[in-house]
């Protein structure tokens, strides 16, 4: 009985189990508190917002906030812009960084250490020290506001957080056995062909991991996106940043009735709509996110 409750070495008993779950659930609650708050607030009617009695359970599920937030965000267009601006650069980024990762994993050449140093440098330098000349050059070339402004750097491996993807691909290719590649080489296959027909298929997992991470990071990036897409199609987070102004243009404060003024509930609906697409993607593909680092072996060494 005692053993059952407390457990012994290597096996946890019932009581430690319960205690651990209690602690994890408590931490989890604090951790997700902002999200819970967002969901609940976004469903409150204007009356619920004012009522001191309503904190966690709205008296009704009020979808009006979402209807207005969809209009204010210009949801359809912004969603399209966000999807385009996260998926296209991610695909290009994955393609180019995998080339780099393969080159570093499979060939020994002078200057490899220097290349690694430069890759680390691109990870560390703040975008603030590079965006101004790029922005000015884009303006000269008429590319400011065009999707190309974000696609070009990604197509040359300088996309958002590309260093991390080089590392992921390097580790993935390094851990592949070389025997198959060697025998293909003896059969006279070219290096590029070996890469395309042997290395890529064996490292598909790394490609998926790189893509999902890259898509959510691009989705959530607003500094460079805001500057380079100035005057072009705004992505969802950029629309959210302008939410209050956009709201007052659609629902002028002096004209609409008090219940239609901008309130927390509408703002939280807008925020919710913003995170919904990456959230859905996360729940569908979650194992590619959370098992990825173990799979690709990204650790301290």
């Amino acid at each position: 009985m005692r053993k059952y409750l407390l457990g012994n070495r290597g096996r946890l008993g019932l009581l430690p189990h319960l205690a651990l779950y209690a602690v994890l659930i408590a931490i989890g609650f604090v951790y997700l508190y902002p999200l819970l708050y967002m969901v609940v607030t976004s469903l409150k009617s204007p009356l619920d917002l004012l009522s001191p009695l309503v904190e966690w359970v709205p008296t009704e599920l009020y979808w009006g906030n979402y209807a207005r937030a969809v209009r204010v965000l210009g949801y359809g267009r912004a969603l399209g812009a966000s999807a385009l601006m996260s998926i296209v650069p991610s695909l290009l980024q994955a393609a180019v960084t995998s080339l780099v990762g393969y080159g570093l994993a499979r060939y020994r050449f002078r200057g490899r250490a220097l290349v690694w140093l430069l890759i680390l440098l691109t990870f560390i330098i703040p975008p603030q020290t590079t965006f101004i000349p790029l922005m000015l050059r884009y303006r000269e070339l008429g590319l400011l506001g065009s999707p190309l402004a974000l696609i070009l750097p990604a197509a040359l491996g300088q996309g958002y957080r590309s260093a991390i993807f080089v590392l992921i691909f390097y580790l993935a290719f390094r851990s592949l056995p070389q025997a198959l590649e060697e025998s293909a080489r003896l059969d006279g296959a070219s290096e590029l062909r070996i890469f395309a027909s042997i290395a890529i298929p064996s490292a598909l997992a790394a490609y998926i991991v790189a893509l999902v991470f890259s898509v959510v990071w691009y989705w959530n990036e607003t500094f460079l996106t805001g500057i380079f897409l100035e005057g072009g199609a705004a992505t969802l987070p950029l629309r959210l940043a302008q939410f209050a102004q956009a709201y007052e243009r659609l629902y002028p404060p002096g004209v609409v009735n008090p219940f239609e003024r901008l309130n927390e509930a509408v703002r939280m609906s807008g925020t919710m709509l913003n995170i919904l697409p990456p959230l859905v993607m996360y729940f569908i593909l979650q194992r590619w996110f959370v098992e990825s680092l173990e799979r690709t072996g990204v650790t301290g060494e």
């Binding site: 703040p126 101004i132 959530n220 940043a241």
Partner: protein, 281 residues
Amino acid sequence: MKLRWRQAVYGYGFVGLWLVGFALFSLWPLVETLRYSLHAVTVTATGIALEFVGAANYARALAADPRFIELVISYTLETLVAVPVVLVFAITIALFLNLPLAGRGAFRTLFFLPVVITSGPVMRELVAQGATRLPGLAADPAWLAQLPGALQGAIAYLLEAFVLILWFSGVQILIYLASLQKIDRGLYEAAAIDGASAWEAFWKITLPALAAPTVVNAIYTIVTLSHFAENPVVRYIYERTYALQGGIGYASALAFVYFGVMALLLLLVALTLARWAQRGV
């Protein structure tokens, strides 16, 4: 000899595209920004006009812009507060998730979730609503006023954005978890046979194995916090870029001062932790 040459040709063949990109989209803009920082820059209809001013932009940033200095100091303090919070939280959660619990996959999914949704505007909305404060904590506790001035700001930030700081731990938790799972089980068994308690095994086996990933995680945390679009220094540099007075030249100098401070922070934290890692705790 021939083989070495072949290796180099193919190696650079695969890396080449990236190197071109690096030159065009990282190195050139970096050097150009450095050049701007030494000039007064005027945007004209056809391009830009530069007028050399030496170190004037830097002098102004360091001596005549109290707002910038204030922001950089609070950025430094906030980062020094946030990094240990993130690391300790990530280690704690990773240790929990490494235990043989049913449903730990679900918890792992939960603790990684913020990585997917953390963008500047989303954070701004949540902070504005007071939703990132530790639930149940007073907004402005009385003991805060008793602390010395500089520390007050950093602690107030910790309280106000506590959950937000924790939200930056997702990737770090996974990195720690991966390292924990690589520890040889046999080590623990051997220690147990030698009479070591679980407590001793934790300090002598588990923690030393987490030293190297801690250096990686600290660097990752600092870089992520420093690049975040909602970082006040980042926003200030952005505002200055489009300001009439000073404009691009001045903003470039600010960016390099910021880069310098960030590099010093990275160096400081990485060296401290690396020394700890080498000593084996």
